[in-house]
Each structure stands twice: as C-alpha cells, then as structure tokens.
Amino acid sequence: MKRFFIVSIFLLISSSLFAQKELKGVIKDKNGPKDNLGVYGANIHWLNTEVGTTTNKKGMFSIPYKKEYRKLIISFVGYKIDTIIVNSTKPINHYLTESNTLEEVAITAKKDATQRSYLQTQNLVTINSEELLKAACCNLSESFETNPSIDVNFSDALTGTKQIQMLGLTSPYLLITQENIPSIRGAAQAFGLTFTPGTWVESIQITKGAGSVINGFESISGQINTELVKPSTNHKFYLNAYGAMGGRFELNTHFNQKVSEKWQTGLYVHGNYRGEKFDKNSDNFLDNPLAEQINVMNRWQYTDAEKGWVSFINFRYLDDSKQVGEVDFNPKEDRGSNTVWGSEIKTKRFDTSVKVGYVFPDLPFQNMGFQAAYSNHEQDSYFGLREYNIKHQSFYSNFMFSSIIGDTRNKFKTGASFTYDKYDEFVSAVMNSNFDRNENSIGAFFEYAYDNADNLSVTAGLRLDYHNLLGTFVTPRLHMRYVPLGRGVLRVSVGRGKRSANIFAENQQFFASSRTVTIENSGGNIYGLDPEVAWNYGVSFLQGYKLFGRKGDVTFDFYQTNFSNQVVVDWENPQEISFYNLEGKSIANSFQVEVNQNIIPYFNTRFSYKFYDVSTDYKSGNLAKALQAKHRFFANVSYETKTEDNDASWKFDVTYNWIGEQRLPDTNNQLPIYSDSYNLLNTQITKVFSKKFEVYAGAENITNYKQKNPILGSDNPFGANFDTTIIYAPVFGSNFYTGLRFKID
C-alpha cells in the first residue's frame, strides 16, 4: 500500500512536470453585439512557430504554452491582425477590430519617371513630369530628349525648330493630341510642338504603331497625347524662370485657385524672348532666330464626384514671332529687298475647348464623354521674297460612350465624331498661289476590348468616316497583348491610317531655299493630290527582370509602315522640291532595343539602339530617306541623392546620343553623299532646396559638335544654290543654361 502511494505520488509529480501548459482565451468582435459569443474560426498562433489553433464556435481556444513563445498572433479575415505579448497562462479575453476601420495604408513606393506599361494592350510609354524635368527646356518639342522612342531632329538651319520622328517618319504621320483632342495638325504642323510650354505638361503618353480608332483616322506611325496640368492638382502658385547663354529667356507662371466647392480655375502664362544676335559660324546668317512668344491659357475645372461629373473648359491665346536670316536684316527696311535676305514668321492662335465626362455613379465601368474644340491658327510669313500665309480654322467634336458586355472582361467604346477644317493658304512660290479648301468629316467608331483579367487582352476597333475630300472609308485597328509567362509581355498591332497631306505647312522650311516648287497633279482633291494611306504593323516584346536584385527591363520593338499611297516630298534635285503621289513602294522599317536598368537605389540607366530602314520609290529610283540615320544609339543615366528631412536633394542627369551617318540629297557636290556620324552629350544638375524651391543648370551639346556648312550658298542667298534645308547636325554649338522653380501649395 505504501509502495502504491509512493508510485502514485511519483506519477502525479511526473505528469505535472511533463503535461504541456495550455493558454486559454476568448476572441470577440469589438463591434459585435453585447451578447457576443465570440468569433468563430479565428487563427491563433505563436510568432515564428508552427504552433497554432483556431477558435471554436464560442470564440474560445486553447493553445500550448511555453515561456519562450511570448508573442501570440490573432488573425481573422476581415479583422486587423493583433499581436499580444503573453507572459503567463492567465486566460486571454481579446477583442478584434474590423480591418475596414483601419486607416488607409499610404503607398510610398517610388514611381519611375518613365513607365513602360505591362498592362496596356497598346505599346504605351508614359513620360511623367519628373522625366520632363530631366531636360529643363522648354516646350513640348524638347520634351522627348530623354526618351529613345522619339527621335529629335532639326527641321532647318534657320529657325532651330526641333522636329520629332517616330518609327522613322516625321511628325505629320503622328496623331498629336492634347488631352485626347487632336491638336497639332494642319497649319500647326511645323511649329505646333513649340507652342506648348513644358511647364504646362503634366505627362505624355506615347503609343507606338497604330493607335486607337477613338481619336480619328489620321494616325499612321503612332500617337502622342499630352495631359496638361490641372487646376485641382497643380501648385497654387508656380514660377519657372530660365535663361541660356544662347540668348534665350523663358518665364512661366501658374496660378491655381479654388472658386467654389466644385469649380477650380488656373491661369498659366508663358513668355519667351530671344533678342541677342549670334553668328558663331560667320556665315552672315543668324544661328538662332530672334523670337518672342506670349502664351496664355485659362482652364476651368468642374468636379462633382458624388454625381460623377467632370468637366474642363479651356481658353488659350498665343502670339509668336520669329525673325531669321542675315544678321543685318532689318524687317522694317529690308522686307522685299533682293540684297539682304531675311524672314519673319508670325503666328497667332486661339484655342478653346470643352470636355464633359460623366461616370455613372453606381457603375464604375460605364461612362460618357463629350469633347468639342475650336481653334483659329493664323501664320503670316515671308522667306526672302517668298511669301507664305495660312489661316486654318478647325472645329472638332467627339462623343463617346463606354460600358461592358456581360462583365468587365468585355468592354466597348462607341461614339461619333465630327470635324471641320477651313484652310486659306497663300503661297507666292507657285502659280495660282491661292489654296483654299474646306474639309469636313463625320464618323462613327466602335472599339471592343477583351481582357481575360490575366494574360491576354485584345482591342479591336473599327471606324467608318465620310469625308468630303477623302471619301467614305473604313479604318480598322487591332491590338493584342499576351503574357507568355512572368514579366514578359508580347504585343502585336495592325492598323490603317489615312490623311490629307498639308504639303506647304508641313514642308515650309523649303521656302527658305532657291528650290522651285512643283506639284505634279494627279487629279486628287487636295492640291491636286490623292490622300496618303498606310498600314502599320508592329511586334513588341517587353521583359522585366531582376539582375543582382536590381530591377530592369528590356524591350524589342519592330514596326513597319507600308504606304499604299503617299505624297512624296522629292528634293533629290538640288534646284527643285516636288510633290507627287507615290508610284511604287514606300516602306519604313524600324527596330529598337531598349534596356532600362536600375543600378543602385535612385541610380537608373537607359540604353537604346535603333535601326531604321526607310526607303521610297522616287521618280529617280528607290532611295533611302535623306537625312535619316540608319543607326542611332542612346544612353541616359540619372542619379538622385536621397531626399533629406527638409526635402533637399540633388539630381543628376546625362544623355548621350550617337547619330550614325545620314544620306544627304544631291547638292551638286557641295556636300558629300553621306554625312559623318556624330555624338551629342547633354547634362543637367538640379539642386532641390525644399519642396518650394529648386535651381537647375545644364549644358547641351557639350562636345560642341556643329555642322560645318549648314546654309548652302549663304554668300549669295538670292542665287541658285541657296538652301537652308540640308541640316543633319546642330548649327549652334554648346549651350549652357540655368533656371529656377518656385512653388507654393
């Protein structure tokens, strides 16, 4: 008996020793009713262990306890995760809080300044304002310097106007829109991009290849859309001043004001001035134009988020004048002179537009939009003894409804548009110098978009237009995006575009030459010419990757534009510029590889190689496009220091371009057949002092590369060899600038 007693004691002791301790408790809902029985199925486990359990129907649980566990995690879907520190097996009575009462989590991940989209069906690159600041200057035409998808060339040796190209085709083949309203077209083609100040631009979206059918039938090689700053999001006050050694000064001021609960307004004033005469290459011609511009925009924004209405009303007035030509040219005395050559280009433009958007408050996938825009563009100009005046009035309106079929995997957009363009054109360089015409068109479009919410999306669009000069025609566009695996995206696009070529407005640099102008009438409706029609095909592959833990992506783009009709601009004869409809083939092939690689945080690099094969059947035979480099290389490096507590930081940016040899048109042996390849190097440093104030300084064309003989026959501008159009490299050497930005919110 005694033995039995001892054994029992031993057993009891041992069991109490070996028995695992248990922690017990009840989990309840903080906002639950008073008779709350607890939360059923909540997950309970010890941090960093596999030890866990769930609560029973009454919200009760018991979980093995060890002294070293300490942290108990309680989680339940729909509730905030709680961590409790436990020091003993004292029962726990815990209340969970519903997680939707949580404050919103702020996402602070840094957005890239340029984003290649993984999700869009179209091959879309977005340039946001941060990227735009990398090259501080000054207007839209100069906003693409750090982006390899767009090539920036010079249009002529006089105005220094930068001309953009995409897929080896000049900007008239692009549809350039401002907040999705076609903006730079018709008379505005040549200088339009210089009429949008850089500070007004919020972001730019570049679509390569066939665009959407919604904005019209004109785009052939791509679309560029500019979103302007909005009164609701722009700074209350913003000031940007810029000055360059090349004698250029710019001033931008923005004022944004809330007028009422729903109305906000913004006033944006831009002025630029260039008054100093430079003739660094001693050819007796100004290297840069003398220029003045006043550009004022007023925007009104109406937002009623509850009811789903958004509206913008814009007014813009522009007055721009340029003087180019010989250094001694005085417009007041020498206009019409045949001894001193000079030119003036004066543009006045008024724009107004209204946009109304409505999102059905209960149906986020369904909305309607209406846009209407009117512009009046007047350019009065003369180039030596040649006069060129154009007045272009334009009205555009577009209504769109978008919704879904079944569910959001099947979306559609449909609507109608109306355009009216009235041109009055006077060209002294040709016989019958008045070219007046009216164009109007009415069209309807339907675009269907399928997205399997995973790895495949297709957008198929079709529009039917009736145009008084182009006829009735169909414009199909197709885009496809497929994600084979991981972060690779394959895109395919096909589309047709049609447009009337504004031969004089688009090629007005030729007036500053002695070339005779010839139009070979083919019985068409526009200058006796038939409209341009082209198909664009594209394949693109984007692959995101990580290299040594650093993010990067590589893109391969191949695009072909195949003209079935084109207005060929033939300047292969040094004494002539002639326009005629294509007979034969005209094909532009472009290939681009682009690599974006992050090296260390805030240190990013971008490299790109581009190959262009653009050829046209001229009257004199098939030739590669003149002044088009076959090979181009691009590199951009940017670095930012970490933002300090007072928001101060440094930003560094370097852009390098290598431009391969270019075929030059026949110049009676004044110039070689091919130009030399050359390098361009730009850099900019920005010092951010605070959120309010920053200063920047930069240098363009640091290696000081200049075209040796930019103006042919400059010694005798009224002689037969005068030509300012054969320009393949910068005229002006290196240029240094500085500026500041000041903002109040």
């Binding site: 879907v77 949580l102 209960d362 149906l363 996938f365 879904i404 569910d407 959001t408 919410a453």
Partner: protein, 120 residues
C-alpha cells in the same frame, strides 16, 4: 374579393422581383496579400456568371463587386473564391486549394504577411 387577392399577390410578386437589382453593389473582405492574389481573386469573381465588375484592394482586402442579382448572389461568389484558395468570413478555402497557391500568396502565413508589409 378574389380579384383583389390576385392583385395583391401579383404586386407582392413583382416587388420581390424588383428587389433583385440588375446592378447591385456588394462588397466583402477576402483574405490575400499581394498583386497575384488580386489577379486571382478578381479573375475568379468575374468568371462567376452574373458578376459584372470586381475590384480587390490589396491594402484593405475589400472586394467590391457589381452583380446581377437575378443571376448570382454573394454566397456563390464567396464559394467560388474559396474554391480557388481565398478565405472569406463565411467560407474558408479548402486545404488543397490553399496549398495550391503560389508561395508568395500564402496569406495565412505570418512571414508572408510581414514580407509584403515591408515591400509597401
């Protein structure tokens, strides 16, 4: 009298018919952690017949839906979502479905949760 009774019955029926909305807005919590979960949850929701719109918020875990109540209800959607591995308050995902999720999506795992928080 018979007529009145019929009328009332018809009225009652019709109101019960109209109570089912063609575009009903509903939302509930779905457990998940990352953008892959988002894709999976939204895709599963949209594949449910009658779901027109689905959006899952990775931070609040809230799934907002617009459904045609003639064709479906929240129960059905929740079941579908549970069947592909994501928990809701009412339906727990079966073990096999949860185990099938990608490693980064194991939202029940504390470490995975912490890892995603860090990234935010």
């Amino acid at each position: 009298m018979k007529n009145i009774f019929l009328l009332v019955a018809v009225l009652l029926l019709s109101t019960s018919v109209f109570a089912q909305k063609k575009n009903a807005k509903v939302s509930f919590e779905v457990d998940g952690v990352c953008m892959m979960c988002k894709k999976r949850i939204e895709k599963a929701a949209l594949k449910t017949k009658g779901v027109k719109f689905a959006q899952w918020d990775v931070n609040t875990h809230k799934l907002s839906l617009i459904i045609d109540e003639h064709k479906t209800n929240t129960e059905t959607v929740k079941k579908t979502i549970a069947s592909i591995g994501h928990d809701t308050k009412d339906f727990k995902a079966p073990k096999e479905a949860y185990d099938n999720l990608h490693e980064c999506c194991k939202y029940r795992d504390e470490e995975v949760q912490e890892d995603h928080k860090k990234k935010n």
